[in-house]
Symmetry: C2
Subunit: 207 residues, 2 copies
Amino acid sequence: MLTLFDYGPSANCLKVRILLRQLGIEHERVETDIFAGESRRDGYVAMNPAGRTPALLLDDGRAIAESSAILLYLAEGSAFLPTDRIELAHAQQWLFFEQNLLEPNVGTARFWRLTGRDEQRPEAWTQRRESGEDALGILDRYLADHDFLVDGRYSVADIGLYGYTHVAHEAGIDMAGYPSIGPWLARVESTEGFANDLQPYPANARL
Amino acid sequence: MLTLFDYGPSANCLKVRILLRQLGIEHERVETDIFAGESRRDGYVAMNPAGRTPALLLDDGRAIAESSAILLYLAEGSAFLPTDRIELAHAQQWLFFEQNLLEPNVGTARFWRLTGRDEQRPEAWTQRRESGEDALGILDRYLADHDFLVDGRYSVADIGLYGYTHVAHEAGIDMAGYPSIGPWLARVESTEGFANDLQPYPANARL
């Protein structure tokens, strides 16, 4: 059986939880508290050199890390991944965009704000938030005339972008400036079997 | 024939140039000056909603953007992409790690330093550089006992990580702290058909 090393407050982990549920894949879940150092131990780093969550342990003892790589792996052969080679590339394109421009900025700005670090490094926080707004602007303009990100259908690309976009307001970003994002979030949330169980950061996240 | 919209000083673009050359794929190259706004025009944004380089225009009029998505697309069926499903996931894992933790930090810190922005936002620059050092530390520890990133063989994962790692010193990072990275860069550079033609940023990059 698959084992997911998972951290409740991580929207990267949430993405994998959403897909596992929509695919109906039975799995074991191991809560991995990154703030207690659980993802920095030798055994964990052997699974994921970056020492972060999520990581997916397979039956043969090998593991896959990085949320988007896990999404692509799990979705293969399902309706959540395009089969056309170019549409598949477009799904990967959006997932890379998210991990490169949206998550490092919206995700980081949100985490710092929720844990009080925005006040410790206000200039760095502002810069991350502003770059996050750029990323959301790109997404919003695209969604103005697209129901979903790839080929008019819900796919892992939508799951990947949903993760941090649906909590971008927690990064101090005014979402009123992105009128096409709200309706798309609602379309994502109305897909069959969708459930959002993102948990709040615990008090000991204030490191 | 494929058309690559390419910007000489971008290490993301360099990755695609390296692979196209090693695959021996004939293509047209269109120099796209991002600082002259060429990637923000409507025609370009239709190819790449994010308005960045590189973008690859295909024969049927569709396009693929994000350097790592282009690498995965071009490498399919070649020796530069693993065929085993889990090894393929590992190549994607490293490419997502690079775009998420290495490029946004090492790449951004380097760009700001080369264009004088490090002095305008010193706290934000320092934070990007420090996070970049974290990413390089993860890579260095992995390379201490691996010749290449996936399955002991050169692949698109190595090309993806090479891009900004080989210029990380230009971000003000002391590479002496990462003893396994230099020998790996040399192994990458000695693969057949490898050529590095990264160009310096032009004077008008100082925006």
